[in-house]
């Protein structure tokens, strides 16, 4: 069970963001039952009941939902019997507000801990304590006055908490992590059970409950408190001080009842962009803490959901590029950015000299992304890195600033500009993470010129090792899979696959290539052209004929934009179709992908994260002026065109992934992500 749980918890947040959660068996309830805590017993019952009774939602999905409810409970201030703990923190109580916060924390703890706890469950008590301790200083730094004030009171508690945790850990083998989580959970459910009505109705009551909660607090709980405070602040900002509690409670209640809405409250809370990242990261951190090395892999801030008007407006105000959103958007893909094509480029070009902080080379790359001159994830990545390299070369630290901070901010502003030009690919995200990490790790003692040259050589090394040499290695591996007489099928235009085919031809293998292509990009024609020019024997067809042509094929080589940790391959739209047909025909599907494109994210569909292309290009057929039935389609409200750029190929259809670390089954991707990334990939 433990084994199963950790991955799920890890994956959950991401899935949750998107809003698509496949129901899975509810682990939380299970964990509750496992937890043998004294406190837990009553609470556990209550806890288990709400999910089962009210919501059929999967336990995993619940965790986000649950967060708000605990706060209610605490705010309600009814002391819940199960929760009750000797409470030393009188100081906390003083303010009703503070109390509320505290209660909030408790609830948050629940939120934060269950996921965090589960991963940590593997680890022993010491680690958990350690994490908590680390947490607290961290908070203090970021902390508000409130947090600080609460600390002294809590410090006494801390010890108590630790001990309690230890006891909990001792109780069960699995137990430990479940224990902490259980207590948290229990508080929530207990509250909810007893006073569900109360929760629904009033949430602003006294803080008695909260106090009790605090008393109990384990380190996890304390952490939760801090988070809760932060969240409370966020909420306050959002809804004004007076309204805050009610709003929050309301959302919480909603969360309990409905899963769909459950997803939303957190996002709303995170409304303020600044607020969101910290809370998200803190939660993440909790999760990551046990494996300390992974901490850098902070979960990315939630992706922008473009159906959230409020945030879109905000983003627009910041945007450098004027973006006019397309009108007729397909309902299911509203959350993705789509702009009227052709308006951005002229606008951006016109502003060429007016954007002050932008480095020319970054600007150039942005324009090239926007105009589609650079496409393909390797090419985009290299172009971006080279641009950053030049920017770093020309960079000089302004007076009174630290290179590490200022340069990071600079790079971030460049990145956000590039995102406006075109959404980042996953590989670019990894690359940026790498670069920022390198910047952050620069020793303080290093002089500016040294730092700059070290960064530049880092970039060169990254390009060389992670892309160029990786490609070479992939080719060497892949060629061993090509035998004389093979018929190789590929789809679209992948630089690695192209190099494989050319190299195999050069080493004298006898084979034939089938190039499958699709509108509207017809990238396969470029590949066809080059391969034919090199003397390869090629067949060209469109994807509609895939089932026909697959009969003769013996291997399928595909490129990928990214490979996710559940083995899903994220690639040019149509790839999934090809892989599926190949699978049906029992033709092995080999994915060629450099390891720097691997990502720990888990994705089950191609809806939540994708990119929309220009819808006009699918309505037009080149060379057929007479096919103009879709001209002015934008004026027709009943018509929406969808030009997706990527799709997700489930790992079931993938026989093998060829990467610079060798040839792996898709199930081994997480290993690469975990092991190599930590030790090697980030150099």
């Amino acid at each position: 069970m433990d084994m199963r749980r950790p991955p799920r918890t890890v994956s959950d947040p991401k899935v949750r963001q998107v809003g698509f959660v496949t129901p899975s068996p509810a682990p939380p309830t299970r964990s509750l039952s496992d937890a043998p805590t004294t406190v837990a017993a009553a609470a556990a019952a209550s806890a288990s009941s709400p999910p089962s009774g009210e919501i059929s939602l999967p336990g995993s999905s619940l965790s986000p939902v649950m967060i708000p409810p605990p706060r209610h409970a605490s705010s309600d201030g009814r002391p819940s019997a199960p929760v009750a703990v000797p409470n030393p923190a009188s100081s906390l109580r003083r303010d009703s507000l503070r109390i509320r916060v505290g209660s909030y924390n408790a609830s948050e703890v629940v939120l934060g801990t269950p996921p965090s706890a589960s991963p940590s469950s593997r680890t022993d008590n010491a680690t958990s304590e350690f994490s908590e301790e680390t947490m607290s200083p961290w908070h203090g730094r970021s902390g508000t006055a409130k947090v600080a004030s609460s600390f002294p009171g809590s410090s006494g508690e801390m010890i108590v908490m630790k001990t309690s945790v230890g006891g909990g850990g001792g109780a069960g083998s699995t137990p430990k992590s479940p224990l902490t989580t259980a207590s948290v959970v229990k508080t929530l459910p207990g509250i909810s059970e007893k006073e569900r009505d109360v929760l629904m109705g009033t949430q602003n009551d006294g803080a008695g409950v909260s106090k009790t909660l605090k008393e109990k607090t384990t380190k996890a709980e304390r952490r939760a408190l801090q988070e809760a405070q932060r969240a409370a602040k966020a909420a306050a900002k959002e809804a004004g001080a007076g309204v805050k509690p009610s709003a929050a409670s309301g959302s919480a209640v909603v969360a309990n009842t409905k899963q769909g809405k459950v997803v939303k409250p957190p996002s709303q809370k995170k409304d303020g962009p600044q607020i969101a990242p910290p809370s998200g990261s803190s939660e993440k951190k909790v999760v990551d803490r046990p494996p300390e090395k992974d901490r850098k892999k902070d979960v990315p801030a939630p992706r922008m959901q473009f159906d959230d008007k409020h945030r879109v407006e905000k983003a627009k105000r910041r945007a450098v590029v004027n973006q006019f959103e397309a009108k007729n958007r397909v309902e299911l893909f509203r959350h993705l950015p789509q702009y009227i094509h052709g308006t951005q480029l002229p606008d951006l070009e016109g502003k060429f000299f007016q954007l002050d902080p932008m480095h020319p080379s970054v600007y150039k790359v942005g324009l090239q992304y926007l105009s589609g001159q650079i496409s393909g994830s390797n090419a985009r990545c290299i172009a971006m890195l080279l641009a950053f390299r030049e920017a770093i070369r020309d960079y000089s630290t302004p007076p009174e600033k630290a290179l590490v901070r200022d340069l990071t901010a600079k790079i971030s502003s460049y990145v956000s500009f590039l995102i406006e030009c075109r959404p980042l690919s996953i590989s670019m995200g990894n690359t940026i993470k790498f670069l920022k990490n390198r910047i952050a790790k620069l020793p303080d003692t290093m002089s500016e010129s040294e730092a700059k040259s070290s960064l530049q050589s880092d970039i060169d090394r990254f390009i060389n090792e992670k892309i160029v040499i990786a490609d070479k290695v992939i080719i060497r591996h892949a060629v061993t899979k090509i035998r004389d007489g093979d018929v190789l099928l590929t789809y679209g235009l992948s630089s690695v696959v192209e190099m494989i085919l050319v190299y195999a031809h050069e080493v004298g293998k006898q084979f034939r290539v089938v190039i499958v292509d699709s509108r509207p990009k017809l990238e396969g024609q470029v590949l066809l052209h080059r391969l034919v020019a090199k003397g390869l024997n090629c067949t060209y067809t469109h994807i509609n004929a895939i089932s026909y042509i697959m009969h003769e094929v013996t291997r399928v080589f595909l490129g990928a934009a990214s490979v996710l940790s559940n083995g899903t391959v994220h690639s040019r739209v149509g790839t999934a179709c090809v892989a599926m047909v190949a699978n049906a025909f029992r033709v092995p599907v080999l994915i060629c992908c450099e390891a720097y494109k691997f990502h720990e994210r888990v994705q089950l569909d191609s809806i939540c994260s994708n990119e929309l292309g220009d819808p006009d290009v699918i309505s037009k057929v080149s060379g057929r002026q007479d096919l103009n039935h879709l001209d002015n389609w934008a004026d027709n409200e009943n018509l929406q065109l969808l030009n997706l750029s990527y799709d997700a190929t489930p790992s079931d259809y993938v026989s093998m992934i060829i990467t610079d670390y060798g040839m792996l089954p898709p199930s081994s991707v997480p290993v690469i992500v975990r092991e190599y990334r930590r030790e090697n990939l980030w150099i």
């Binding site: 016109g350 060429f352 020319p360 080379s361 105009s371 160029v468 630089s495 190099m499 052209h529 020019a533």
Partner: protein, 460 residues
Amino acid sequence: MARMDFEVVVLAGGTSRKLNPLVSQEVPKALLPVANRAVLSYVLELLEASNLKDLIVVVEGEDAALRIGGWISGAYVDRLHVEVAAVPEGVGTAGALRAVASYLTANDVLIVSGDLVTDVPPGAVAATHRRHSAVVTALLCPAPVSGPSDTGTSGGKEKAKKPVRCNIVGLDPTRQYLLHMATGAEVEKDIRVQKSILRAVGQIEIRADLMDAHMYAFKRSVLQDILDQKDKFHSIRQDILPYLIRTQLNSEVSDNGGIKSESGMDNMSSQNDLRWLSQHRAIAPSAFQEPHAFSLKLLPDARRTHKCCAYIAGESKYCARLNSIQAYSDINRDVVGEASHLSGYSFSAQNNIIHPSAELGTKTTVGPQCMLAEGSKLGDKCSVKRSVIGRHCRIGSNVKIVNSTVMNHVTIEDGCSIQGSVVCSNVQLQERVVLKDCQVGAGYVVTTGSEHKSESLARK
């Protein structure tokens, strides 16, 4: 560092012969008033609006340079950082560039003709240039329709004909690359298109309705190489640009030139390391990436090519060059008329500009799209239509001014009628003079009762 790694050179010219008698020693071409502002100010303000504040202005002739320099330092002190360079007359645009080439250091150079009146953002040209990593990018705009526009009143309807044929331009199907350019006398000859280019692109679009606006972005190193090596080259438009276009598939400049060795292009050297990746189209861009990369087949060594690009201004943009007398009247009319946003003045409800200090007699009417500058006085029963009148003019009674430009300090006595003419500064028109489609040079005196039609009057 220069902004976005671009430097700007404004070629202000000298005293153009084509514009006689409007220009003179006192008034070089760059200072000709257009809607009562020097024509050069339109360019300078366009650049200023684009945040380009470090400029080099090249002027032909010492005198003209002094005057222009004086004017700039007066008008743009604290606003622009301008360096004025004087070159001998008759060296041509290429010669002018040669004179300042050694001062240029940025990666790219934006070259703007000083007689350009436009609202096309120079950034657009520069960005296109950058995006394609082109060697040269030219601004093309729809050729202006010469003569009074259709909405014009009476005079000169017969002139509103086809657009002037300025250039013949060959473009690729995506209209990004410049494949052919015929200018000047070549326009009348047969069009010769290079086979190799045609083969590489597959399709070429020949346009006669585009005009080269004389705003170019050049890669500096290439430009300097050409200026050094081809000392016969006289003009950008007739020599350098056609040369670059002609040799774009068989480049003599882009690879053997100093590009790689120059600072600022370390990028290139690092790309050499990445030659292994040359199959990435974007890293080692072939000349034409259009759907079928034909050029790859023809040109195994993509490095022997360079790109000549075009930025085509939209129809809604105004773009005109003051290179003829006709253009002068057209631009004057447009700037107070359809392109009024360029003038920088705010128009009254009657759609005209009358300076508060101007005095109008009784029953005098000033129509829309007119401009009356400060200190000018009009007598009774005058009528002004679609005309620009400069500062401190004294105009008597019963004067009709239609479709004309009257510069500063002009005296027009009673009963004159001026149509479609340009009257320069300090001119005196005595009573009952009738001018139609005339140009009157500075300081000239037109005697009482004389009638002129389509004449150029100037002091000998």
